[in-house]
C-alpha cells in the first residue's frame, strides 16, 4: 500500500494504492493534513488502485473532509469500484462526500 501525491493545477491528488485500513490510515491522514497546513485547499482522493477500505479508513476520510472544510477547502473522491460504492452506500457516506466517476471529471468540477 502507498499514498502517492501529486499536484494537478490547484488540486492535490492522492492515489490510494492497496488497502486503506487501520494499519495505514494514519499515514494518509498525516500526508493530507501536512498539505492543508502548507496552504493547499483542494483535494482529490482517487481510489482506482484501491483494494478494500475498513471502517477506520472510512473514518479517516470523514475526519479529513471535516478538517478541510473547516479551512474553507474541498475534498472530492473519484474512481470508486463497485465494492467501494457498496461500502459508501451501506454507511450512507455517499451522501456526505462528493463522489465522481472519473478523475478527469473530478478535476474539472473543482
Amino acid at each position: 500500500m502507498s499514498f502517492a501525491m501529486q499536484k494537478n493545477g490547484e488540486v492535490v491528488v492522492v492515489d490510494v494504492a492497496g488497502q486503506l485500513i487501520v494499519g495505514n490510515r494514519q499515514e494518509l491522514k498525516q500526508k493530507v493534513l501536512d498539505e492543508l497546513e502548507k496552504g493547499e485547499r483542494k483535494f482529490l482522493i482517487d481510489f482506482s488502485q484501491t483494494g478494500y477500505i475498513d471502517s477506520s479508513g472510512l473514518g479517516v476520510l470523514v475526519s479529513l473532509s471535516k478538517k478541510i472544510r473547516e479551512q474553507g477547502g474541498e475534498l472530492r473522491l473519484s474512481n470508486l469500484n463497485d465494492d467501494l460504492k457498496t461500502l459508501f452506500e451501506l454507511t450512507k457516506l455517499d451522501t456526505l462526500f462528493q463522489i465522481t466517476d472519473t478523475r478527469e471529471r473530478a478535476l474539472q468540477s473543482f
Partner: protein
C-alpha cells in the same frame, strides 16, 4: 463439480496484537475461500472488510493493543458457508449493546463506530461469546 462440493478446509492461525498483521491474515483467509469458488464480491468485499473489522477490534479493543496478547483466527469453509472466528484475550462485550447506527444524522459525521455495523451488514450472521477468550463468530453463505 463433485470434488469441490466435498471439500472442507479448516484453518487456524495466531498473531500478536499488531494491526500490521491484518492484511496478511485477510489474504490467507480470502485465498482459501476463493479456491472454493465463492462470488468474487464475497472475496473482495464482504470477507476482507468484515474480517478486518473483527481483527482490529480484537487487537485494539479486546487486547487493548498490548502486542504480547494473542489473537487467534479460525476459518472453517466448505461450498455452503464460511465460518470465521476471531478470538482475543479480552473479557468479551455485548455485541447488540455496542452496535450503533452510523447512518443516523448525528453519527454520520463521526469518525468511529462503523465496525460492528459493517460486520453485521457484510456477513449473514455475527455472534459474540466467551470460550477460552472472547470469540467473535461470523458466518457467510456462498453464492456464485
Amino acid at each position: 463439480m463433485p470434488l469441490l462440493d466435498s471439500l472442507h478446509v479448516a484453518l487456524e492461525l495466531e498473531i500478536p496484537s499488531d494491526v500490521r498483521y491484518i492484511e496478511r491474515v485477510v489474504e490467507v483467509v480470502t485465498h482459501q475461500v476463493s479456491r472454493l469458488a465463492y462470488h468474487p464480491r464475497q472475496v473482495t468485499l464482504n470477507l476482507p472488510v468484515a474480517l478486518t473489522e473483527a481483527l482490529s477490534n480484537a487487537i485494539l479493543r479486546g487486547n487493548a493493543d498490548v502486542t504480547q496478547r494473542r489473537v487467534r483466527i479460525r476459518c472453517d469453509v466448505n461450498r455452503e458457508r464460511v465460518i470465521l472466528e476471531v478470538v482475543d484475550e479480552g473479557s468479551g462485550f455485548d455485541l447488540l449493546a455496542c452496535m450503533q447506527d452510523p447512518t443516523s444524522p448525528e453519527n454520520l459525521v463521526r469518525e468511529d463506530g462503523r465496525g460492528l455495523f459493517l460486520m453485521a451488514h457484510l456477513m449473514d450472521r455475527v455472534e459474540s461469546f466467551t470460550n477460552h477468550g472472547n470469540v467473535v463468530r461470523m458466518t457467510l453463505h456462498r453464492h456464485d
